[in-house]
């Protein structure tokens, strides 16, 4: 057995071990954003799957580069031969182009169908943005007729506020959600375009003036999470960063709602009626 062949076998064995160990490590690594919601869970699973699929290819590439360097160093003429064989090989080239083209085409078709059917994720119970989701047909109780807790996210320069239309329509500067609940976010803006990004829950939706952007997610983990604006929206864009968003137990949520209602009682008469969008009227303010 030649030294080069022995090296190839050795590197091949190393790659195999790396690929197997890497696959196990990737299976247990805590990838972001986590599993705080069904949307976050599906995002995490996708990242894990793609990393798992890419790792053998990545490690093989690195091993190949290392092998080429070692071969080149041990015998400077050896590396030139395989390169000449590869050059101008129509069968290899057409196979390469054909396989890559088929993979890209298949992914493009799947992606196009998914984009065209924006509610595919909801049909699979994965949550996410929806176009045909109802726009808040409130029928009483905390949940709407679809079994979702509607929460309106109102963006303005430079703060998010949150309104709970099925709980009396009060508005809070803090977002608190009950655990194990289907939440229907209605995201809108009073001024410029913002983006509501609830990182750990995998929720990210543009807040566009005069537009009701609906996003579905199911809470799955208690905790305190961070929400930020994901769209450059002006001078204090960076200030739209809140580390106090909470997912709490049903009992704690009820307690919080009761407290907020008491706090908001003096100003409820001034709040405009709940609407999926609002039109600011600066002329209405005091002199």
């Amino acid at each position: 057995m030649s030294a080069t062949r022995r090296l190839v076998y050795t590197l091949g064995a190393i790659w195999l071990v790396l690929a197997v160990i890497g696959s196990f490590v990737i299976a247990i690594l805590p990838f972001p954003p986590g599993a705080a919601s069904n949307v976050a869970g599906s995002v995490t699973d996708t990242i894990r799957l793609l990393t798992w699929a890419a790792w053998p290819v990545f490690s093989l590439t690195i091993i190949g580069v290392i092998g080429a360097v070692l071969v080149r160093r041990s015998d400077p003429d050896a590396a030139a031969a395989p390169a000449r064989e590869l050059r101008g090989n129509p069968r290899l080239a057409s196979t390469w182009i054909g396989v890559v083209g088929a993979v890209v085409l298949a992914l493009a078709i799947v992606g196009t169908i998914t984009l065209g059917n924006d509610d595919a994720a909801q049909a699979l119970g994965l949550g996410g943005r929806t176009i045909s989701g109802d726009n808040g047909n409130v029928i009483g109780g905390a949940l709407d007729e679809g079994g979702y807790l509607p929460v309106q996210v109102i963006a303005q320069q430079w703060q998010f506020t949150y309104r709970y239309p099925t709980l009396g329509g009060f508005e809070s500067a803090h977002l608190v959600l009950p655990n194990n609940t289907n939440v229907q976010f209605h995201i809108t803006s009073l001024d410029v375009t913002h983006s509501f990004w609830l990182i750990a829950l995998g929720v990210k939706g543009d807040a566009v003036p005069l537009h009701d952007n609906v996003f579905l997610a199911t809470t799955q983990q208690l905790g305190t999470y961070r929400s930020v604006c994901g769209e450059l929206c002006g001078l204090w864009h960076g200030a739209m960063d809140d580390n106090s968003m909470q997912v709490v137990s049903a009992g704690d949520f009820d307690t919080w709602v009761a407290q907020e209602k008491v706090l908001d009682a003096p100003i409820m008469k001034y709040l405009p009626p709940y609407s999926t969008t609002y039109v600011p009227d600066p002329a209405a303010y005091g002199s």
Binding site: Q157, W158, A173, P266, Y270, Y285, G286
Partner: protein
Amino acid sequence: MTVNGKTMSSIDPTTAAHSFAVPGLGVNVPLLGVDDNAPAGATNTVVFSFKVPASGIFHWQCFVPCAAGTLYGLGGPMQTLGFMDGQIEVGS
């Protein structure tokens, strides 16, 4: 808070000319505008207090779109540092 010495807990938002808000501290105080028929130079004095939980730099701003003549009243001074927004530095 008191407005010209009179205790108030809320005001009609259509009478607010500005607001003094520090989102990071949970402070949001509407500032009552002077009456349209008030003489030139008339002012309202609003007094309020709050406790600062920690040292740091906090962003303050007016949340009432008070920049007349700009889109939705949100341009001009609403977008200029030192006019309707700024920073509060809280020392230790």
